[in-house]
């Protein structure tokens, strides 16, 4: 459009009112888009404010004395202090906050290791090896994606109880090492299926077996889904409440969510400051993950439909 206008300017015998009108139109269009942009940002910022308010309120409340939290809409603390954090770090019943933190961290890290090992191996079988029964097993795996896990928890609990594994981390981790979370397997299979077949065929001709192909060819190419799966395995394990609620009953084994629940039940309702501080501390690793990997996480969700 601009080039057309310039040509018009160049010809002297152009009618002047035509020129004026187009310039006016342009100005109007620019004004219109400016108004539109302003409306966009005002709307989006309003949504953002509503979305962020609870999180900011939690963060700011953790810096306020308990009697200034409830009913205090304002985000700015009048007497900011870290007293709540000192209290929260003291832990519960003689067990320090750092014990819970360490338990959560151990569970999350082991979950990541388990998920990555088992999901990549399983995905290789489904995506790269031809064997009878593969399609049936694959359909069964997909079916478990939508299965409410409540149908297995009671027999699982009975089994782990019989084996004396209640009050250990085994029930919470064994599923990760046995690829029980089908979502991760599915994610890896989808990625692996898009890798060129020629890679493995060339390696086969060179005499490599499946173990070699998996380890030296597939794994190094799997960085993107491994990354996505690691992030989500970590965060899901970190936030998990149901599993630890069932299996961890000794305070020195508590993961943070269970400890947090006990903390809320034990402290009197007036001690909101310490509760907020502990809630904030429990979210720090997740928020750090989110800030560092946000592109990865959001891309992972939009391409794979991963749940938060």
């Amino acid at each position: 459009m601009t080039s057309v206008l310039q040509k018009h300017v160049a010809t002297p015998d152009d009618r002047p009112d035509d020129l004026d009108r187009s310039a006016e139109l342009r100005r109007e269009a620019r004004k219109k888009s400016l108004v539109k942009a302003t409306i966009f940002h005002v709307l989006v910022l309003a949504v953002a404010a509503v979305i962020l308010y609870p999180a900011l309120w939690m963060l700011m409340s953790s810096l306020k004395p308990s009697n200034e939290i409830v009913g205090n809409i304002s985000l700015i603390p009048e007497n900011a202090s870290f007293a709540n954090f000192t209290k929260a770090l003291g832990g519960i019943g003689g067990v320090s906050f750092w014990t819970f933190f360490g338990n959560s961290l151990f569970l999350a890290v082991m979950s990541v290791i388990g998920v990555i090992l088992s999901a990549t191996i399983t995905a290789y079988a489904f995506a790269r090896i031809e064997f009878p029964g593969r399609k049936v097993w694959f359909s069964l795996m997909i079916a478990t994606l939508l299965l409410p896990f409540h149908v297995v928890i009671i027999p699982q609990y009975i089994m782990f109880n019989e084996l004396g594994l209640v009050n250990t981390f085994v029930p919470l981790l064994i599923g990760k090492f046995l690829a029980a979370e089908a979502f991760f397997v599915f994610l890896m299979v989808q990625f692996m299926r898009n890798l060129p077949r020629e890679l493995d065929e060339a390696a086969r001709i060179d005499g490599a077996g499946h173990v070699r192909i998996f380890r030296s060819i597939m794994l190094p190419l799997m960085k993107p889904p491994v990354m996505t799966a690691s992030i989500f395995a970590f965060i899901w394990s970190w936030n998990d409440f149901f599993g630890p609620l069932l299996y961890l009953k000794k305070p020195d084994l508590f993961s943070l969510p269970v400890a947090l629940r006990i903390y809320v039940d034990q402290t009197t309702t007036s001690d909101y400051g310490a509760q907020m501080a502990m809630a904030v501390l429990a979210l720090v690793p997740v928020l750090l993950f989110f800030i560092i990997f946000q592109r990865f996480i959001v891309e992972g969700v939009s391409t794979q439909g991963l749940k938060g």
């Binding site: 999180a55 009913g71 191996i121 290789y124 031809e130 939508l146 297995v152 928890i153 029980a180 809320v264």
Partner: protein, 318 residues
């Protein structure tokens, strides 16, 4: 392992060398396949299939973890119909699914359409809106929610400004459901991100052509956006529905594990947990779990059956 099998296959009986080598190669592939599948197979049999059968059996028994299960036929299932708490949990969960999911998806779609521009800051907004989905189900957020909705809490204060009677939502049986729905709507970011990815796939020419035909924005939304988004909508609807049937942690924390006040937060899985792991009525809880599986299965089936009439896949002519 597979290599040695191939080598021995090649050495024997030269005349039928080809077919035999192929056969032994296939056997080696099968062995390799199942070797790689072993961890998943073990998990599937020990942690999913086995327990599913076991809980199906337990559903027909009386079992309290300490004495042997006692066969009682369909009693657990008939009991549900006369168990007011069970019926309450079905009611609460149904309302939550039927009200919460549409509102959450509508919010997700609205904000996704708002964000679907080439304006600056779009990526940052997308990340901010997604963040609650990552932390929304955590115990921390449940604690914050409770603190915001109690008597004299922030929400109560704001409500009073708008002329509401004083009183928090946490202790008011008729207000706990809106509170829980708000908590799930707050996490609209995950479906929004998926909608946004879907919106980016809609070719602009369609809108331009519609504009030339004089279509307004409502018409464009109904005739272009919705049909083009229907696969994504289907995916989100299915996932969110199944997901909201299983709400547990936040209801547990907000009600202190009781499902109160007056059973207004007694969600299905919370009641199942209480029956199974507080009262140790594990047979009854197993029966409840199987009913949940059947309901989710039927809903999934209906979704897929009806999807043919409203989900359009591009490249498909109808």
């Amino acid at each position: 392992m597979s290599l040695t099998a191939e080598a021995t296959g090649n050495r024997t009986a030269p005349p039928t060398k080809g077919s035999q080598a192929r056969r032994s190669r296939r056997a080696a592939e099968t062995r390799a396949g199942y070797a790689f599948l072993t961890p998943w197979l073990l998990g599937f049999l020990l942690l999913t299939a086995g327990p599913m059968l076991a809980s199906l059996y337990l559903a027909f028994t009386n079992y309290n973890l300490f004495s042997a299960p006692e066969w009682i036929g369909f009693d657990n299932f008939t009991r549900m119909f006369s168990d007011p708490q069970y019926l309450q949990s079905v009611k609460v969960t149904s309302i939550y699914v039927l009200v919460g999911t549409p509102i959450k998806l509508a919010a997700a779609l609205a904000v996704a359409m708002l964000l679907n521009t080439k304006r600056r800051g779009q990526g940052a907004y997308r990340s901010i809106f997604y963040a609650p989905s990552l932390i929304g189900a955590s115990v921390s957020i449940a604690i914050v929610w409770k603190a915001m909705f109690i008597d004299d809490g922030v929400v109560d204060q704001i409500g009073q400004v708008f002329g509401r009677e004083p009183g928090g939502w946490v202790g008011n049986p008729s207000m706990t459901m809106p509170m829980m729905v708000l908590l799930t709507v707050w996490q609209f970011g995950a479906p929004m991100v998926i909608f946004l990815a879907g919106l980016k796939q809609v070719p602009n020419e369609l809108y331009e052509a519609a504009e030339m035909d004089g279509a307004g924005s409502v018409r464009k939304f109904l005739r272009i956006t919705l049909p083009m988004l229907s696969p994504v909508l289907f995916f989100n609807l299915l996932l969110e529905t199944i997901h909201s049937f299983q709400i547990f942690g936040s209801a547990f924390i907000i009600s202190g594990g009781t499902g109160g006040p007056a059973g207004s937060t007694l969600f299905y899985t919370l009641y199942l947990y209480r029956r199974g792991f507080v009262d140790f009525q594990m047979g009854y809880a197993a029966a409840m779990a199987w009913v949940l599986v059947l309901v989710v299965g039927i809903i999934t089936f209906i979704f897929f059956k009806t999807s043919k009439s409203w989900v359009h896949y591009s490249g498909e002519t109808k």
